[in-house]
Symmetry: C2
Subunit: 357 residues, 2 copies
């Protein structure tokens, strides 16, 4: 039985994408071999990676003066690649709105004069600070923020106005909504939430921002290295890129980011409305800052939280345990989570409340 998997990442992939990958796993594109066995320099693979890039450009309407890079190492590697590629004046401002936002900031500090321009840590990251241009220093190389905070279930519902290029970690919300890429210097995302199996990281970067890496920047971390080589300076993570390509085609067929966003909003509304009308479950995130991807909630006590996670799993609603920093439960409802999964979760929540209140 296929379960509904509420994992924060790696997480669900569209079932039809998995089935296609399975069907052609031993013979990709009539090549007589698995995509996992194929030279990355072969014609078949070259078409796969080029199409993946073209489809992502279409989905996000990425302007021509941006590179699209497929790299390795996850968002965590970019926490370092960002200062190593972008620091010229040696200063950058960070918005500290969660665990990974803080990690990015801490890695940044090693390389330059970094400032936390705003933080919601004093309130356990339960809201998104509203910043204006005057919150930032003027002579900085960039402003970094995490668009969606996976652990805390918050989301920037506005694009900050900054005096320098915006760098945004969109790992847990990329392709879940329509964004105006031209407002950003860099958008990056680990693939394992909304795009593909873990192992590839997408970096969308304005071309001029690749020109001045710090002298200590390792060759493999320079965006220009990958840009000049079409993400094939060395062997790329071929299978994850192939899977990303299939997911992009699935999204295009579905109608793109506007269409999936409508579904995502509907899914999240089902869950939040139910929680807000319940006296049993609580979500303590500021309403206007709630994520439509990650929905943390708690039952009245820890015993009930543990019981909830266990009994939900028995009904095929799995990986609902909240992050240890927050406790309780977390339902990650990325693009690939069908609305039926959310409905089934809400039904289970009702039943559990009745049985345990």
């Amino acid at each position: 039985m296929r379960v509904y998997n509420f994992s924060a990442g790696p997480s669900m992939l569209p079932e039809e994408v998995l089935k296609q990958a399975q069907a052609e796993f031993l013979d990709c594109g009539g090549s007589g071999m698995s995509v996992t066995e194929m030279s990355h320099r072969s014609k078949v693979y070259d078409a796969i990676i080029k199409e993946a890039e073209a489809d992502l450009r279409k989905l996000m309407n990425i302007p021509d003066d941006y590179y699209v890079l497929f790299v390795q190492g996850g968002a965590s590697m970019q926490f370092e690649a960002i200062p190593l590629n972008m620091l010229v004046k040696g200063k950058a401002d960070y918005l500290v709105t969660g665990n990974f936002a803080k990690k990015a900031y801490k890695e940044g500090i090693k390389y330059g004069d970094m400032k936390a321009a705003a933080s919601s840590e004093e309130a356990t990251f339960t809201y998104i600070p509203k910043v204006t241009r005057k919150d930032f220093r003027e002579d900085i190389d960039y402003v970094h923020y995490t668009a969606n905070n996976t652990i805390f279930g918050t989301h920037f519902n506005y694009v900050p106005d900054a005096p320098a290029p915006l760098v945004s970690d969109m790992s847990s919300c990329i392709l879940s909504e329509t964004v105006d890429v031209s407002k950003f210097g860099v958008i990056y995302a680990g693939a394992q939430k909304n795009i593909a199996p873990a192992g590839v990281t997408i970096v969308i970067v304005r071309k001029d921002l690749c020109e001045n890496p710090m002298p200590i920047c390792p060759t493999m971390l320079k965006w220009s290295t990958q840009a000049e080589n079409g993400s094939m300076y060395n062997t790329p993570p071929c299978f994850s890129i192939y899977m990303a390509g299939l997911v992009f085609k699935w999204l295009l067929k579905l109608g793109g980011t506007d269409a999936i966003n409508k579904i995502n909003v509907e899914k999240a509304k089902l869950l939040y409305d139910f929680i807000d009308n319940s006296k049993f479950y609580t979500n303590n995130v500021a309403k206007e800052d709630r994520s439509i991807m990650n929905v943390p909630f708690v039952a009245p006590n820890d015993d009930l939280n543990a019981k909830f996670v266990k009994e939900a799993a028995a009904e095929g609603l799995v990986t609902l345990k909240g992050h240890r920093l927050v406790g309780g439960m977390r339902a990650s409802i990325y693009n690939a989570m069908p609305i039926e999964g959310v409905k089934k979760l809400v039904e289970f929540m009702k039943k559990f409340e009745l049985e345990n209140k």
Copy 2:
């Protein structure tokens, strides 16, 4: 029709491994989800990565004072991670025996006082220099060499005697033969030749060599970061590690590295014997330095080389084109290439010679 794929990497995987992965692609270990969708913190995945490590330790008889790390970025990332983790005195010696050996050396130069202790570049890397301890400087942090040179078809048939820890890039020969790990400080390998789909890199490192990274070493490139976190500092390339695990089990069932080496020697002998007895085909590598993994050869002229590659492909013998630095043909016959593939190639070579001499 499944082809015989002679690609230098990514390259063939054992058909039974591919079939198992395909069969459980939508439901791994009874979890109701694909291994590509599974949280890396889940019990099922935890067992997968731990078993992969345990099986590799068994296959290579890795002593307890070595870490086994699964990292991202390929061997090219390690070209930088090595000096960044190992330079204390600030000096290291390199054996320059091929394209990637030279790349490793060039990356190293950025970080310290590096010396090419020996090189075969003057003879287009057609042999392996025989070095002795006196060829190295005494006050160095390590000696780096590439055990098997994929492009040029050469292989170190001895382990150099060095005054410092040996660091060996075994990307294209790991698990093809039995090695004494205790003779090395570091063994590393991109997975996409003998282990798994591209996207994971194996680093086997003596524990004491992880203790003194350079201050400029990025957190993600520090071996200690991954060692302290069981290769899960951030989300690992889960699918490639899972596939590596299946390949390790396949090798164990087959009898381990001694058993596969016997088959590899037999496969290579078929091909080299035929080439050596032919007046049509040439392999110009010093006989004692020949690789049993990568066999470059040429027909009498470039037109015939091109014709060979094209006609072989039509018969299901694919990706035989040699690297541009060498020209002609190259048959990469890694662990997963069945002996039938090599026999079919030799038969084709005979036929082609008869038709074109």
